[in-house]
């Protein structure tokens, strides 16, 4: 797999399709699995990790999912960061040491990290609210891997994981939402509190402990033991439409009561993104968030949601540097980012096809 080619595309999950795609970016499920006869990754020796990687690679190659394996250990730091920005690997896998990698499926719908906190972290993602489709796919991949690998499993505790917070199903069911109106109307904290009460976690764009840049929030289960995969999926699938409804109501409220302000805010955001000559990643996210909402509310009509979704990822540091083909310090990046935004947001052919 040539990572440079990926700079011209984005994962299927970013294309702005799927049910409720004005608010739901994507649905994501991961399964934590460990090979039974090895210590967990944090206690595995280098030769254990090599063996685990060899077994995992062989099993992954035999599945029907056309996965391509990337040796993360051999990648340079920029490429590792690039994979994190694309949400194909975790920060933990980026920063850890020793033999490790990731198998990536076509359209970036599937990925399997090897030698992360658990030996295997299987992940599937689809655009929009489509948890049951995602489950069907990931369950099939898990079945195929299970035919070849001995997973650590106990009848009482289920799939055994390095951290007891994942034991049982080893599942994390997550939905990424864009909630700019709830943030603006300051209703978002009520949502956090309600979710917390029913044991659901809220995270930022890049997982645990990260900030909610661009008004993106990931809602996911915390409990993994004592409920089946389908029960946990159902809980999320029942709750998400309510949050969507709150966000729609907040948007309607903004349109009904603050239309001029809103239109002004959206147009200014669009204007800055189209014309700035220096812009930070954070400001970009903030402004893109307004533009994204503006498109969904019909206040901007010459820009596709898919383009905006893609810009959230492609304006991040490693993406910019790979698109430009050179190392860039912060100031240079801010210039390169502004230039890239101007080129993508101005009428004319897509600059990346030149």
């Amino acid at each position: 797999m040539n990572l440079d080619d990926l700079t011209r595309t984005s994962g299927e999950w970013l294309r702005g399709a799927g049910p409720e795609s004005d608010i739901v970016i994507c649905s994501r499920i991961r399964l934590a699995r460990n090979l039974a006869t090895y210590p967990f990754t944090n206690r595995a020796t280098r030769s254990d990790k090599t063996e685990i990687e060899r077994e995992a690679k062989a099993a992954l190659a035999k599945t029907s999912f056309q996965l391509e394996y990337l040796d993360v250990h051999a990648l340079n730091p920029l490429d590792r960061q690039f994979l994190v920005e694309r949400q194909l690997i975790s920060r933990e896998l980026m920063q850890s040491e020793g033999p490790r990698g990731v198998a990536i499926g076509p359209e970036e719908n599937m990925s399997v990290m090897v030698n992360e906190e658990d030996h295997l972290r299987i992940q599937a993602v689809h655009a929009g609210l489509s948890l049951y489709d995602v489950w069907e796919q990931i369950n099939l991949l898990d079945d195929q891997l299970e035919q070849q690998l001995d997973f650590a499993f106990s009848p009482q505790l289920g799939y055994l994981t390095a951290c007891p917070t994942n034991v049982g199903t080893g599942i994390r069911v997550g939905v990424m939402l864009h909630l700019p109106a709830l943030v603006q109307t300051r209703e978002i904290e009520k949502v956090f509190r309600a979710l917390h009460k029913i044991n659901l976690a809220v995270r930022g764009l890049y997982g645990e402990g990260t900030q909610a840049f661009g008004d993106f929030y990931q809602i996911s289960n915390q409990q993994t033991l004592g409920k089946s995969e389908l029960e946990l999926i159902k809980t999320l699938n029942d709750v998400i439409p309510q949050i969507i409804e709150y966000e729609r109501r907040a948007r309607k409220d903004l349109v009904d009561n603050r239309r001029q302000n809103l239109h002004d805010q959206v147009s200014r955001a669009y204007g800055v993104l189209k014309t700035a000559h220096q812009i930070s990643s954070e400001e970009t996210m903030h402004l893109l968030s307004s533009v994204r909402m503006g498109i969904n509310l019909g206040l901007i009509d010459d820009l596709e949601i898919a383009t905006v979704n893609e810009l959230f990822i492609h304006t991040q540091p490693a993406h910019l540097q790979k698109i430009q083909g050179r190392h860039l310090e912060v100031d240079d990046r801010n210039e390169a980012r502004a230039q890239y935004l101007r080129s993508r947001l101005s009428p004319g052919p897509d600059p990346r096809t030149n």
């Binding site: 967990f40 001995d150 909610a212 033991l225 004592g226 409920k227 089946s228």
Partner: protein, 164 residues
């Protein structure tokens, strides 16, 4: 964009209507907090590790005597190690430290029994092989390469015969 108060990077961007006119305010996190603005954008820090630490303290209390010293024969971690790193060392730890882990699982998951998917393939008992791997590590560490080679062969043989 810089903070209007201190010229640090602005991370808080507010649009307000003052006297009917829209006004944008850009502040850094520190100045925003000083100005009494509640920052609603960041989800509450989950601090999962702190939660687990709390559960360990609540359920196991201060580590004393046998439990603190108890060591897994397969991955050679003690419960004290787990308490420090919050990661278990191997599947057998769930049995070795079961009395301490179960009350924590009950609190965190409100359950102590798995419901859900079961592997179609017969599960292997990992303990004998993990014990051999521990011996193997010892043999390599003491440069007893003959013993190490022997253990590698034994492990391979066991795994092969299990699936035949």
């Amino acid at each position: 964009m810089t903070c209007e108060q201190c010229r640090d990077d602005a991370t808080v961007h507010l649009s307000e209507t003052i006297d009917g006119k829209p006004k944008e305010i850009h502040l850094c996190g520190v100045c925003a907090r000083k100005a009494g603005i509640r920052l609603p954008k960041t989800p509450p820090d989950l601090a999962l590790d702190a939660v687990i630490q709390g559960l360990i303290t609540a359920n196991v209390g201060e580590l004393v005597g046998a439990l603190a010293q108890k060591e897994c024969p397969c991955c050679e971690i003690t419960f004290r190690d787990y308490r420090t790193n919050l990661r278990l060392g191997c599947p057998v730890d769930y049995r070795i430290f079961g009395t301490a882990l179960l009350p924590m699982l009950k609190q965190f998951h409100q359950a102590t029994r798995h419901v859900g998917k079961i592997p179609a393939r017969r599960s292997i008992d990992p303990e004998p092989i993990l014990r051999m791997r521990a011996d193997l590590r010892g043999a390599v560490a003491t440069e007893n390469f003959e013993r190490a080679a022997q253990l590698r062969d034994e492990i391979r043989l066991r795994l092969r015969t299990f699936h035949e």
